[in-house]
């Protein structure tokens, strides 16, 4: 910068180098021109002040109604936040979450490390699960940590995930006085697929479609290999069974092709759980865990109710949800307790409900049964 001649001293004797720049102020501009802005003068002294006052008072007058039409510029445009909420677009992204299948409880993550690699602030940490017997790594994740406090919500992890296992949540009310609780472990990250489906239906449909496409391609190319997350297969199959039948009448039915993969996935789950630290739910604030449990329960209940009696689905689901959020049904407490009870004697009998996931599954089933009973009672 040649600003040494432009300091505040007024003794300038040497030729100011800065000022010899030759400037052409009139460029030839293609399509359009340079216009000089008009420096207006007020027409009469004080008039423009009254005009400005008029604008403000006009806004005051009009602000007693809400600004709901975006073509308008007057009216209250704020929202009363806790009561009123703006609808969040599907694309909204806040913090990453992990998905698991509602029905089976299978996590979609295969610990491929793509997200950990792409994460710009490097807040994703994961440990691949190992088969307890052979010690070989299996495509599942035993621990998954995201530091929410350092996450910058860029959404790259969700973008790169080939198994649609990690998605961006819409929950933005994360503020807490407990800073360590923002280092979220796997148990805190897991959400059912139906939860994500409820916040971003189109996006999930797209994900399903592309997963199905991949599956189809794999079916043709390498029928027995794990092309997509094994846990996805059931899901995808269920969603596309109808279309599948209509489109490709001559192709072999999907279950045949994916059966080995499915088995592999099933085999992996006990291993996952045995390696997992038992009570990671303990790190979560209890209200959050309770909310999560409530969502899960509601999904479960809804599904069950739909199967049982479609007409009474809604009240039943609500009833179940309220029942589960009350302290009388401490599901969240039951979960770690169950896993704690069963996990320490590590690779015990394989058919027992050893792991956390299985425990949860059992809990879900128990819940369903309880709810059905409650429903029956109501009737």
């Amino acid at each position: 910068m040649s600003n040494d001649t432009l300091t505040h001293s007024v003794t300038f004797t040497e030729a100011p180098a800065a000022l010899t720049v030759v400037v052409d102020p009139t460029p030839q501009i293609a399509r359009g021109s340079a216009v000089i802005v008009e420096r207006r003068r007020p027409k009469a002294a004080g008039w423009s002040l009254l005009q400005g006052l008029g604008v403000v008072v006009d806004h005051w007058r009009k602000s007693f109604r809400k600004l709901d039409d975006p073509t308008q510029i007057a009216g209250t445009f704020t929202t009363e936040y806790p009561e009123e909420r703006l609808p969040l677009p599907e694309a909204y992204r806040n913090m990453p979450i992990l998905l698991f299948d509602d029905a089976t409880g299978h996590e979609l993550c295969t610990s491929c490390f793509q997200c950990q690699r792409i994460c710009p602030p490097q807040v994703i940490h994961m440990t691949q699960a190992k088969d307890p017997e052979t010690g070989k790594p299996v495509p599942a994740v035993s621990e998954f940590i995201i530091e929410y406090d350092a996450c910058m919500s860029c959404g790259f992890c969700a973008e790169v995930c080939p198994f649609d296992a990690i998605k961006m949540d819409h929950d933005f009310e994360l503020s807490t006085a407990n800073h360590p609780s923002l280092t979220v472990h796997k148990a805190g990250l897991l959400r059912p697929v139906s939860y994500y489906q409820s916040i971003a239906p189109t996006f999930w449909a797209e994900a399903e479609a592309s997963a199905y496409k991949k599956l189809e391609a794999n079916k043709k190319r390498r029928p027995a290999s794990i092309g997509i997350a094994p846990q996805m297969i059931e899901q995808v199959k269920a969603a596309h069974e109808l279309r599948d039948d209509q489109q490709e009448a001559d192709s072999p039915p999907a279950p045949v092709a994916i059966a080995p993969a499915l088995d592999a996935g099933r085999a992996a789950t006990p291993a996952t759980a045995s390696a997992a630290p038992a009570a990671s739910d303990g790190d979560l604030p209890t209200d959050k865990a309770a909310r999560l449990a409530a969502i899960r329960a509601r999904n479960e209940a809804k599904k069950a109710a739909e199967q049982a009696a479609p007409a009474q689905a809604q009240p039943a689901a609500e009833g179940a949800a309220t029942a589960l959020t009350t302290p009388d049904a401490p599901l969240t407490d039951a979960l770690p307790a169950a896993s704690e009870r069963t996990a320490p004697p590590a690779p015990a009998t394989p058919d027992a409900p050893l792991d956390e996931k299985a425990a949860r599954l059992a809990a879900i089933r128990a819940r369903n049964a309880a709810k059905k009973a409650a429903q029956a009672e109501e009737e």
């Binding site: 002294a45 423009s48 002040l49 975006p70 510029i73």
Partner: protein, 369 residues
């Protein structure tokens, strides 16, 4: 009138009107500024060095944080630089979406910048609230397409991350109706306002030659009377397809910058109208399918620049053939425009310097990097 001592005053780093953590070391004689020394660097966070240990794609969200008012424009400049370096083609629809976002960003920025400037003049937030109201509508659109309001991270090499949803264009058209009403109202509120005239006319004059010698760009340069707009001077992207004018000032004071910004918002709206007309309907054309996100550009360097709302924003990248840039340099308009502040403020009153600072329109995230 009455002689007093020369007094040293620190305005900032914690001060309501320094737009972030910025310090102005003032030497005042009474209320007249004798000398002003801008001190910055309080927000330095090693942006450029950090970029050299990240991959090209990983840097994209960091550019959002440079000038957090205009993340789309920052994304655009960086994407252009990487595309230039790696030779990535951008589909036509993606180009249109990009320009659409960037011009919306320009309106958003100017609405905010004018509001903040007038807030510094002492108007108790009304022009700012009006600006924020319009900005809010635009941010809703950004949220719709990118998922975030400010840190959009929307651009990718070879296009944008996802196509605009169906409801975008209808909402956009509604917004286009509100924009001129907002601008007219702002002018009615302030353009001829005698207090604003008294506070801005003849204040902070940046003569044309001095502006050029400092390398000032953007509305500040155009306010000083030079019709230099990169969209015209070196049309990047598809800017050669649109009709729009370049507003310039005649004196180079705060008032000219104010007027230039209002006029630029109108011109941006003109561009948006043309985009809505011309937007090619190619589904899936939002990104070049061949473009890999994990780019590995050939050895070489590239400099790409855009007309960000604040001025010329340039990214200079050197590649050593790896996945990470060997050198990454940002030419930040706020920083360059801030350098003549000391000269611009000299001889004016203490109350004027906050207005002059507001009229330059800086974001400290970009200045300190």
């Amino acid at each position: 009138m009455i002689t007093t001592d020369e007094l040293q005053i620190n305005i900032g780093p914690q001060h309501p009107s320094t737009h972030g953590v910025f310090r102005m070391l003032l030497t005042v004689d009474g209320e007249t500024v004798v000398h002003l020394e801008p001190v910055f660097g309080y927000l330095h966070r090693n942006h450029e060095q950090l970029a050299e240990v990240n991959t090209y794609l990983q840097n994209m969200p960091y550019t959002d944080r440079l000038d957090y008012f205009n993340s789309m424009a920052n994304n655009h400049a960086y994407a252009l630089a990487v595309e230039k370096l790696a030779g990535i083609e951008v589909p036509e629809r993606a180009e249109y979406i990009r320009v659409l976002m960037v011009e919306l960003t320009r309106i958003l920025n100017h609405a905010g910048a004018l509001g903040f400037m007038i807030n510094d003049m002492g108007a108790w937030q009304t022009p700012l609230a009006f600006g924020i109201r319009e900005r809010e509508k635009i941010l809703d659109l950004f949220e719709l397409v990118s998922g975030a309001r400010m840190m959009c991270n929307y651009f990718r090499f070879g296009g944008v991350v996802r196509d605009i949803p169906d409801e975008f264009i209808p909402r956009m058209k509604k917004l286009m109706i509100a924009m001129p009403a907002y601008m007219d109202e702002l002018e009615r509120l302030l353009r001829e306002n005698e207090i604003l005239l008294a506070r801005s006319e003849g204040i902070g004059i940046l003569p044309r030659e001095v502006a050029v010698s400092y390398g000032v760009t953007g509305p500040v340069l155009r306010g000083s009377g030079i019709a230099y707009d990169i969209r015209k001077a070196e049309p990047y992207s598809i800017y050669d397809r649109f009709d729009f004018d370049v507003p310039v000032g005649s004196v180079g004071d705060v008032y000219d910058r104010f007027l230039v910004r209002i006029e630029e918002m109108r011109q941006s709206r003109r561009i948006l109208e043309q985009i809505i007309e011309q937007l090619p309907d190619a589904s899936g054309g939002h990104i070049n399918p061949k473009a890999r996100q994990n780019v590995r550009p050939p050895v070489g360097d590239a400099y790409a620049r855009v007309e960000s709302p604040k001025g010329e924003l340039g990214f200079y990248l050197v590649s050593d053939g790896g996945t990470k840039p060997y050198r990454y340099k940002v030419r930040a308009p706020s920083f360059i425009n801030l350098t003549p502040l000391g000269d611009m403020c000299r001889g004016y009153k203490v109350a004027d310097i906050v207005v002059i600072l507001g009229s330059i329109d800086i974001v400290m995230g970009e200045v300190d990097r």
